[in-house]
Amino acid sequence: MSLDKITNPMHVRHWLGDMEADYIYTLGVAGERFFKEIKENGKIMGAKCPRCNIIYVPPRMYCEKCFAKLEGWVDVGTRGVVHTFTVAKIDVDGKKLQKPEIYALIKFEGACGGLIHKIGETTPEKVKIGMKVDAVFKPSFERKASINDIKHFKPAE
C-alpha cells in the first residue's frame, strides 16, 4: 500500500472540459418598469397586491401570498433599514479580498421584501442590524437599467 496519496484532483489522469453557456435574462413586465425607474428617475418602486395590501420590493407581477395579479406601483423611497448584513472577506475563488465587502438586505418602510446590495462609505464595525441607509445612485449617464445603477447604500445622516 502506497503512503503517497493523491490529494490534488488535477494530478489524476483526466480530461479537462468546460461548459459554454451564455444566456440573456428577460426582465419581464415588472422588471422592465423597476429598472426603468431606477435608470431614468433614481426611484425604487414596489408593486401592490390589491387583495393583501402588500407592497412588494422588488416589484413583480403576482402576489406570492394570495396569487393575485399585482396592480399599482408605489414609490418606496430611497432610504431603507438594514434587515441583516455580512462582511465577506473572501472572493468567489476563496482568495482574501483586499477590502472586505459588506452585503445587506435593505428593507423599505411599509414594503415586503427589499433589495440585496452592498453597503459603502463606512467601515464594517459601524454597520448594525436596524441602521438606516440611503441608496447612492451612479450618475444618470452611467446607468444601464441594472441593479448596479445603485452604486451601494450608505449610512443615513
Binding site: 420590493v57 406570492e64 441583516t84 455580512t86 465577506a88 468567489v92 476563496g94 452592498k118
Partner: protein, 384 residues
C-alpha cells in the same frame, strides 16, 4: 397500503477526493455493496431505479441519461430527481405506496472534486438580474442569515462553534466521514472569519462519495432481511426563492416539511418520540436553526441545548452522531442520503463505536444549500 422499508445500503466514501474512481465507478461500487447487503440482483429483482442529480453539479447536460449502466438499470425503469437524495427517498416511498412496485433503488452521489468551480455554479443559482450582478462569493447569503438568526434568537457564536466541535468529534468514529477531528472551541472561534459572523471551520467542506439504498414493500422486505428499517413518513417543502422576501431567521420550509413527515408518521411530540436526529449542518448555525424548525426544541433553544451536551452522541437527544456534513463532508445532492445512511445504520444497531443505545425512531433531514429554501424530512423506525 404496504409499509415501506429500507432493506439494503451501500456507501463509498466520503473522502475529500476519490481520485481513483470516475463518477460511474463510484456509483457502481456503492450499488454493488447495496445489492449485496439487500441480497438482490439488479438485473431482475428491481422494479424502479431513482437517482438524484443536478446537471450543473455533474458537468453534463441531461445527466440523467448517463446513469443506468453503472446501476444495472439499462433497459429498466429509471428516472432522475433534480434534488437532494432525500427527495429521491420521497419518490421511492411513494412508488412503493402505490402498490404497483415492490422494489426501488435510490442513488445519490457527489463527485465534488471533479467540479473545479463549485462556487461559481452556486453563484449561478442566484437571481440573474437582481442578485448575480453584485458578484461575490455566494456564501455571503449564509453570513447574512447567520447574523439575523443570532440577532433574533440571542444564540451565541460559542454555541455555533460547539456544533463544529461536537460533529467533527463524532466523525472520528465514522469510517464514512472525511473530516473527523478532535478540535477545541477556541480553534473554531479563532478560524478565519469568512462571512461575518460565519467562520471557516463552521463551513462544511465538499467531499466525494455515493450512497445507494434498496427499498422494498412489506412483503418483499420481510423475505429479504430480518433488519428492515421502516420509512414512517416523508415531507418536503420549498419557501419563496426570493432572497428579498424569504424569512431570514427561521427555516420555515423545513418546519413545514417536518410537519408533513410527522403527520404521516404519527409523531406528536418530536422531542420525546425521536431518539436521534441527523440534521443538515452545512453551516454550524444551520444545525441549530434546523433543530428548531424540526420541533426538536423551541425557537432559540438549540444553542443552549448544544452547549449543555444534550445533542452529544451520548446526550438525551443525539444530533448528527455521524459527524454531520461538518464531519462527513458536504456531499452535494448526496447530503440527505449521508443523513439517511446514518439513521439506517443506527436503527440496525450497526453504527460501530458511535452507536447510540436504545434507538427506535430516527429523523433524517436535508436542506439543498445556498441559495435554496428547500427542506426535506424523513422519519424512520426499526419497529413496524
Amino acid at each position: 397500503m404496504s409499509e415501506v422499508a429500507i432493506v439494503g445500503v451501500g456507501c463509498v466514501g466520503f473522502q475529500p477526493i476519490l481520485p481513483e474512481l470516475s463518477y460511474k465507478e463510484l456509483m457502481y461500487e456503492a450499488a454493488v455493496k447495496a445489492y449485496d447487503d439487500a441480497g438482490v440482483d439488479p438485473r431482475k429483482d428491481i422494479d424502479v431505479f431513482v437517482t438524484c442529480a443536478e446537471d450543473y453539479l455533474e458537468g453534463f447536460s441531461i445527466f440523467d441519461e448517463f446513469v443506468p449502466d453503472q446501476l444495472g438499470a439499462v433497459l429498466r425503469h429509471l428516472f432522475t430527481v433534480s434534488g437532494d437524495g432525500l427527495l429521491g427517498l420521497a419518490n421511492a416511498y411513494m412508488l412503493i405506496k402505490t402498490g404497483h412496485f415492490d422494489t426501488v433503488v435510490l442513488e445519490a452521489h457527489s463527485k465534488a472534486s471533479d467540479l473545479l468551480t463549485l462556487m461559481d455554479v452556486i453563484a449561478f443559482a442566484l437571481d440573474p438580474v437582481l442578485n448575480r450582478p453584485l458578484g461575490g462569493h455566494p456564501y455571503y447569503v449564509a453570513g447574512m442569515e447567520m447574523n439575523r438568526y443570532l440577532h433574533d434568537t440571542c444564540t451565541t457564536v460559542e454555541q455555533c462553534a460547539q456544533v463544529v466541535v461536537k460533529n467533527k468529534k463524532n466523525a472520528c468514529g465514522n469510517p464514512y466521514a472525511a473530516y473527523g477531528a478532535n478540535i477545541t472551541l477556541d480553534q473554531v472561534l479563532c478560524s478565519d472569519m469568512c462571512f461575518y459572523p460565519l467562520k471557516k471551520l463552521e463551513i462544511s467542506t465538499p467531499a466525494d462519495g455515493c450512497v445507494v439504498m434498496v427499498l422494498a414493500s412489506e412483503k418483499v422486505a420481510e423475505k429479504l432481511t430480518d433488519k428492515p428499517v421502516w420509512v414512517k413518513g416523508v415531507g418536503w417543502c420549498t419557501e419563496t426563492p426570493n432572497l428579498e422576501t424569504r424569512d431570514w431567521s427561521k427555516a420555515v420550509d423545513t418546519r413545514l416539511a417536518a410537519e408533513m413527515a410527522y403527520k404521516t408518521a404519527k409523531i406528536h411530540n418530536p422531542r420525546k418520540e425521536i431518539d436521534l436526529a441527523e440534521v443538515n449542518d452545512l453551516f454550524a448555525y444551520k444545525e441549530l436553526q434546523h433543530m428548531e424548525a424540526l420541533k426538536l426544541c423551541a425557537y432559540g433553544e438549540a444553542g443552549k441545548l448544544t452547549e449543555e451536551g444534550v445533542t452529544a452522541r451520548n446526550g438525551e437527544l443525539p444530533v448528527n452522531p455521524s459527524g454531520g456534513l461538518l464531519g462527513m463532508g458536504y456531499g452535494l445532492e448526496a447530503s440527505g442520503t449521508e443523513k439517511l445512511l446514518e439513521v439506517v445504520l443506527q436503527l440496525r444497531g450497526e453504527a460501530g463505536r458511535r452507536q447510540v443505545s436504545n434507538v427506535e425512531v430516527g429523523l433524517a433531514h436535508a436542506w439543498r444549500g445556498i441559495p435554496t429554501t428547500t427542506g426535506i424530512a424523513a422519519v424512520l423506525s426499526n419497529v413496524k
